[in-house]
Structures are given as C-alpha cells and as structure tokens.
Amino acid sequence: MVLKPHVARPARLKADFTIALEGNPNTGKSTIFNALTGLRQHVGNWPGKTVEWRSGICKFKDATIEVVDLPGTYSLNACSVEETIARDFILDEKPDVVVDIVDASKLEHDLLLALQTLELTDNVVIDLNLMDVAEGEGLKIDVNKLSEMLGVPVIPTVANRGTGMDELLSAVTAVARGERKTRAVKVDYGKEIESYIRELQRMTKMEEYPSRWLAIKLLENDSNVVDKVKAGNGGEILRKAASIRASKEPQKMEVEVAKRVYGFIDHIVKETVRRTTPVKVGLTDKIDSIVTHRVLGLPIMLAVLAMIFWIVFTVGEPFGAVLEDIFNWIAVAVKTLMISVNAPEPLISLVVDGEIVGVGTIIIFMLPPVTLMFLMFSILENSGYLARLAYVVDRIMGFFDLQGRTCITSLMGWGCNIPGVRATRIFEVGKDKNIAVLTNPLNTCSGRLAVMFALISIFWSGGTATLVAISLILISMAAVGFGGLILSRFVLPGETQGFIMELPDYRRPMIRDIVMPTLSRIKLAMVKAVKIGAPAAAVLWFISHYPSGAVEGSYAAMLGRFLEPAGSLLGLDWRMILCLIFAIPAKEIVLTTLASTYGLEVSLGAEAAESLSFLLAEWTPLATYTFLVFYLLYMGCLPTWVMQREELGSWKLTLFGVVFTLILATIATLIIRGVGLLISF
C-alpha cells in the first residue's frame, strides 16, 4: 500500500540538512526562527493553502541548515489546516530533525505536542524555551532527567535574549549527522490497546510511515489518516481497525488513549518539575482582571476597536494621498510618452484609463488599510489580547449563532475583506469557519466606505449625513449578524462547535516578529489583488469602449440595459448596474466608473470623489441611498472570492456565498426602498 503525500513544499533551499520548527502558539517559535535565519528567509504560502510557509538558511560552524517554520499548533491531531500541514510535513518530507519548542513554564500543557511528535519520529530535539519565565514563576526543571525520560536532547533557551541558541544548534547538528543517537519514548497505552496496536502494526506493509503511529491513529479513527490509508488501498487494515473499534464502547478508545498520554505527561512533570515558591498572581492575571473585567471589559474592548479604526483610517489616509499622487504622475507620464511615440489612441486609452486607473485604484485604496490591518492583527495576536477580544465579545456574537472569533475576522474585514477572510485561520476547519468566511464580504471594507462617504457628502450634509452614514454602517453590521444566523440555522449543515479558546500569557511583542510576517502577508495579498485586477481592468475597458467607442453604445451598456428591468425593482438604472458590475474586481472603482458611465473624464482617488458632484442632478437621495445599501452588501470583490476559495477549499461554496450575499442585498434593498417610497409619498 502506498500513501500519497498530502503536502508539497513550495521551496527547497540548498543546505546540508533540513530542520523543522514546531510548537504551541506563543512559545517564541517565530523569535527562534528569526534568530536562527536572520534575513535569509523565504516566505510564501503552502501550495493551495493560505497557511504561511516560512523557511530560511542558518549557518552554524561548517553546516548550512535549512530551517522550516511549521505553523504553530497545540497538537498534531489534524483538526485544523495548520495541524494537518505540520503533521504531513513531518511525515512526508521527513526533515532531518524536528525541533519542538516547549514553554518551560507550561510543561504539563505543551508536552502533548512533544509526545505526539515523538510518536512520528525519533529525530527530535526539545527546545525548552522561556526558561526565564519559568524561573520567575519559581519552577525548577531537571533538564537532564527530562531528556532521559523523553529519549531525546532537551536544550534550555531564552530565545528573546539569544541564550542557548548555540547549544540548540549543536544538538540539532549532532542529531542530524547521527553523532547523537536518539530513542524517542513511546507512551504505554496499556495491555489491551497495546495488543491491538501490535495486531494492526503487523498488517501495515509500508515503510514510509511509522507503523505504531499509524496503528494508534486508526484505533482513534483519525479521519485524515483513514482517508490516507483508504487512498492507499488499505481496505483490509481499515476493516480490522473498524472491527476492533466496534467491539468497544463508543468513545472508550479515545478516552483511554488520551488518558494514557496525559497520565504520562503528569508523570513526567512530577518527576522533573519542582516548585520552589508558592504560586503567585502573575502579570497575565493582573492584566486579565482589568481587560476582561465584568464592567470594564466591554468598554475597554470598544476603546481598542475604536483605536484600531482610528489608526487604520487616519494614518492610512496620507499614504493613500501619496499613492494617488504617484499614480497620477505615472498616468500623465505614460500618456505623454505614448503620445510622443505616436501610439494608437485605443492603446493609450487601454493603458492609461484602463490599467493605470484600474490597478491604481486598487493599490491606492487597498494598500494602506491592508497594511495597517495586518499590522494591528499581528500586534494583537503577538501580545495575547486577540484571544481576550474574542472571549469578551463571544456572548454578544452568540445571539447570532456566531462566536467571538467572528468578531475579529469581521473587524479585519472592515479594513479590507482580504485580511478579514485570511484571519479566519484562527478557526478550526468546520461550520463556524465557513460562516465567518461567507459573511466577511458583508462587512463594509474601507474601499466601500470611501465610496459611501463620497456619495453621502454629495447628497447630504451635517447631522443628516452622519445619520445616513451610521444607518448604513448598522445595516452592514446587521447583515453580518442575520446572514450568519441564516447560514447557521437554515443553510449550512452540521453543528457549530461552540467556543473553546486557549488564553495565552501576555507577552511584549517583539518588533521583528511583527514586521516580518506582516510584510510577507501584505505582499501576498497585494500581488493577488493586482494579478486579478489587471486583467479585469482590461476586460472592463474593452466592454465599455467597444463596439462604438462611447459608453452608451458599448457592450457594457447593452449588458446594463439588459439587466435594467430587474434592477428597476431595486431602483437601479442601467448606469448603476454597470457600476456594480465594474465594481466586482475592486469595489472602490465605483468612484471612477460613476464618471465614466456618464461619459465623463475619469480620474483617480480623492479627485474622482470630488468630480462626482454632477450626480446631484442625476440621482434622487432615495435612489442614492438604495444604491448604497445594495452596493455595500451585494458581493465581495474578486480577490476576496479567491481568498474565500482558498479558505473554504471549494469554488462551489464560494460561489454559493456570492449568490447568498446577492440575495441578502436584494431583500434588504427591496425593504428599504419600499419604506423609502412610503415615507416620501
């Protein structure tokens, strides 16, 4: 039987040997990765997954070592994408050494991952990090004893001070070169289960997977392993495992396996950890007593959210203005150049009005909020507050069948849906995550907010304008809530998992650990957006300039007029419909297409917003309002679809989500238009 590797690596760096870093989130794994590799990093995505791939080169004495940073996980159970990737990498790519980073102050918690790793491979080095924190808490750890019990080297480190890195690398090199023999300890599962394990082990005939591990996973009915074995024609062994399971009470096997593992962990901790001072109230408890306080918790959370928005919008604006100047300059320069070489008129129009304005709008409106949102997310995540935010708000989200994590992904979505959808990685795979992915486009991203504010400022002023803005924002929030509720109750199958979240210790985030992943995330998101935006801009340019040259006689206008009967129900004329179609690649493009659908000169950014005042003569306030409601809700932009597809793993579900928001937008617009017409008569 042959098992197909499930995970392919995106890059292989030239090196003497490869090591993989794994560990729980917040154990200082990225600090160690950055300390080992410095700037010699290769960043990307795991193929077909939105999980980050990071690898780098580390030079130690005469060795060149490739370091692969596996996603941070609490276990290797393949419950989440991260866990599956980490496990499959160790199984399929067989790194020469796996370095498991353990928080020394949380040994009884972190040893689970260590023991699961030791079941997969003998070539493990345990990095006992955060030794300073453990000592500060009065914990004394017998490192030699721990190493003896686990059968692999255990190296104490304080990564943020660089302590112990040489010792770690020495141990890693020795294991990789076979100079230091390791014999990973195996958990004793008790007489009965051990006999089943042996029975199944005898039936496995493949060399590439550790047979003991495979047998245990089959007994636990690990769906990922079952699928792998199924694909490898392992029907016989599967039937055997199923018959063993069927002979037992339901759950018994899982409970027994988990009990044995944790029993062993408790035994190790008892033998190796000594508490020298009584338990104190730590810094984390002190901070938590304020930020999750019964009365203060929610106001503090609101203040944090308000601050994030303030930063994203006020700090982002001047950068947007600079980008706008740059693209305006490029547009003029390119146009002048092309005229001087006698380029044909349609080509100039395609390049300048189509590509530079189209791609420029995407970058001007996306880059600042995307950058700041990723940065904020990274700071929140690294400091430990992100988990508290989800915890504090969870009950409120519960009214809509959503959970606390959805608040975080929605929050990101208000900056830009792309980081919003990407942030759904904080969920485990399943219904809760799918709901968060599918409802994310209902959050008004900063591009749509710009269009919204531009149109509001034309038709309303002062207090009325504020009220209109607030009402639209509330409609968007309600759409997320009710959209989630409908998806959860009536559409998506299965049950939600409820809220289970670990609250890590607070840590002072290190600048390097925030900036480096943020930069790579921005790069990936922007490249994706431009890759989709550029061809889309060309297509839109073509259908709005041909066959006749003027907008009125273009293919786009024909499409708009064709859809007008349906649109008229919602109070949308063909030009509005056209704008909505043109906005699919990038929502903020409406600022420019509003002008172009009226055959006017197009311009970029703030200039475009100002040039829209002609609409005062064309649209009524009610038409503007209903247009905005529909526009805010009808669907996410194309780059968001691609991101959703990656997170959901299915185009079908992604497109279903598009149809779902379209229906939701139609219903909301119909109701509001109906009410509006009643009031105005």
Partner: protein, 88 residues
C-alpha cells in the same frame, strides 16, 4: 446524549462544570458526547483532571478555567457537557 456505561457513574455531588462557582476546584468525572468532544479530550480535560473556573466574561459567558497550568475559555454550552465532582 449518548453516555458510556463503562465510565464512572455520576452521583448527586457531580455537577456540570458550568455550575461550578468561581474559584472552586472540581475534578472532572465525565465528558458527555458532543461535537466538541474530541477537542475537549485533546485539551486534556479527562476524568480525573482538576479544573477551576477563574472568571466569567462581562456577559457571564464564556467562562475561563484554570486547567493543566493553562487558561482555557469555554462557552457555558460546552462546559455543560463536562461533569465535575466539586471538592472542598
């Protein structure tokens, strides 16, 4: 809910984890089957494990528990599926 006859029997003193008062330690006696069941086991919430609620979110739910030297937040609906023996 499916229960396992092989697991320790519940007695009157056993209460759902969600009703354990803050600061009071309990020993887990049983985890009922639910779709969060596997995840609960993976986290080491097994029969015999001590657990203590330490605080509640502003609206009373979820609850943070101290378990295995770690802080774990659980919604009441999840905590309801875990039964504990409240020790003194």
């Amino acid at each position: 809910m499916e229960t396992n006859p092989d697991l320790p029997k519940l007695n009157e003193k056993d209460i759902p984890l969600s009703s354990l008062p803050l600061g009071r330690k309990g020993i887990i006696v049983r985890v009922l089957d639910s779709n969060a069941y596997r995840r609960i086991l993976t986290l080491g919430l097994l029969p015999g494990t001590p657990i203590k609620p330490i605080s509640r979110a502003p609206l009373g739910d979820p609850i943070v528990f101290q378990v295995r030297g770690h802080r774990l937040a659980l919604r009441g609906e999840v905590a309801k599926t875990i039964f504990v023996n409240a020790t003194k």
